[in-house]
């Protein structure tokens, strides 16, 4: 993808830096976007847009101090914009497609003795959370950010983040316990 952007004149700066950034963050951003949108195609599209914006930011400058946080923030905003679009609402994405298609990718989950039924239950419950709760939970527990970092990234107070985390954890844990 980066070569295509470079050929199209989109890319500026040191290509090796772009490649390194892309390789370092693309899997994580892709996973994050798919998780937030619950759909493979839309997640891939938004992740691609995130890296197009990264290239634009590199060419315009100044570069952010922490690319990981910047990319995550852009990805979250991109997913939020996608969810707000009329097309998305009309289409009624519910995340079932991603779950059905990706049940073979359980290598990491199997290490933690998670059954497919349990994974399905967790995913369905996760999709029923509010978008804000999803964002907060993913950033805190999947991405491993501190509560303060999550609050800064989402423009929320620390207390609001804790409240969202409390509700999300409570509901997701219900799903785990109901399966086990």
């Amino acid at each position: 993808m980066l070569n295509a952007m470079r050929n199209a004149g989109i890319m500026a700066g040191n290509p090796s830096d772009d490649d390194a950034l892309y390789r370092a963050h693309h899997p994580r951003i892709l996973r994050l976007c798919r998780m937030m949108l619950g759909n493979r195609d839309d997640g891939d599209e938004v992740a691609q847009e995130v890296f197009v914006k990264m290239i634009g930011q590199r060419s315009r400058g100044p570069e952010p101090a922490n690319w990981s946080a910047w990319l995550t923030r852009v990805a979250i905003n991109g997913c939020r914009d996608r969810r707000r679009s009329g097309w998305w609402r009309w289409w009624g994405r519910d995340g079932r497609e991603l779950l059905d298609s990706d049940l073979t990718t359980l290598r990491h989950a199997e290490d933690l003795a998670i059954s497919r039924q349990e994974q399905g239950a967790v995913w369905r419950r996760f999709r029923k959370l509010s978008p804000r709760q999803q964002e907060v939970f993913v950033l805190r527990h999947v991405e491993g950010w501190a509560t303060r970092e999550v609050a800064e990234a989402l423009n929320l107070s620390a207390q609001a983040v804790k409240l969202h985390l409390f509700r999300a954890t409570h509901r997701l844990r219900e799903a785990v316990r109901s399966e086990s």
Binding site: A113, I114, W123, R173, V176
Partner: protein
Amino acid sequence: MKGCLNENDLIRIQHGDDFEFAAERLHLRKCPACAARADELASDTRRIAAALAATAADSRALRQSRRAGFGRTAVLERGRLRKFGVYAGTAVCGGTVAFAIMMALGWRPMPVSPMQTARATMTRTPERRAHLNSDQVTNGEATPSYGTVSDPVSDVVYGENSDLDSDSGTASEGSEATGELLFCAPGEDRMLCADSGDQG
């Protein structure tokens, strides 16, 4: 603080800062049961995060298998075919609505009369086209010059010789009707006509 911590307390402690819930944290250190439940909560949270990450993870093996055959078809069916269906449905609905609006506004598809077919056939030559542009005006109404019928298969035009001039294949104004039929066919540079008397 009284008694053991409930689940809500444990979740709050898990997400709280280090300086928060000092009394509850002290109890956790002293109470093995609460400590075990806190560990269970942390374990559940890790499992939930792992399950979510695994669901959304990028699987190269899966993508490669999709490229190989059946999976790719499934992707096309799920993604592009569904989008194509939406676009096609939108186009059909739009066309139907446009047709309904035109019908409501009074538009009707016009049937093609034999006269129009004949005129279309006769306009193949420049002379005919020029003559058709100068249709006669009778009693203030535009009327076609010819009472003709065409045979599109044989490319022959039939008409009365009062309407068609035998030399040029054009109508000649003021000529008298003889009641004989004219047969016209396109020649190299003009229509060739003959009346029914010449046919015999």
